[in-house]
Symmetry: C2
Subunit: 113 residues, 2 copies
């Protein structure tokens, strides 16, 4: 199939889809409501929503003849967790640099007793 990150990152790559997520942050929406915010056909918007669902960035809830689209945490978490690995990486680099500077200063002060 597709790893959790792959589905999420693939979905996040398109600016329209990221805008859809922002809109769904305000409230859940039907396909028609989402496509009101965009200058493209409902068909195109629906395709984007399908890809967002595949990435677990939204969940879809059929209700009568409508289809409610709702923001979902899972995919966002998957992507955020992946990125967080690198933030940890830089934090460590930064603290290593700080230790080095502190040692430098300690050595400097020892030179003039």
């Amino acid at each position: 199939m597709m790893s959790a990150e792959q589905g999420a990152f693939r979905a996040l790559a398109d600016p329209t889809r990221r805008q859809i997520l922002m809109h769904l942050g305000s409230s859940d929406m039907t396909i028609a409501q989402v496509s009101d915010h965009f200058d493209m056909t409902r068909g195109a918007v629906r395709k984007h929503l399908t890809i967002l669902e595949e990435g677990n960035l939204i969940s879809v809830h059929p209700k009568g003849r409508e289809r409610i689209n709702r923001l979902a945490p899972e995919g966002i978490r998957a992507a955020a967790d992946w990125l967080n690995y690198f933030n940890r990486f830089w934090d460590e680099k930064l603290s290593a640099l700080q230790s080095a500077i502190e040692n430098e200063q300690r050595n400097e002060s020892e030179k003039q007793p």
Copy 2:
């Protein structure tokens, strides 16, 4: 041009590029060193590195006939910040839910004085 997020998310969408980032987490590498880890031509790897650079996920440092590729924080930050907006969103929802539960319990206890 391209917004900071767009470049970063576009670059992150491809699994090969995400793997490259992981490899560069271990150490800086030339194009040849990066492509040693993949079953594809140097040309293909170079294209991926270009897209990573455009997304500010790596910085490139020419050194003689070599080209050193190094992990860069900017793009990762841009993407992580964007995703973080939604994490904040859910944290608020969750705490609102908890408050609701607490109020519910308080109201319950008031029923039997």
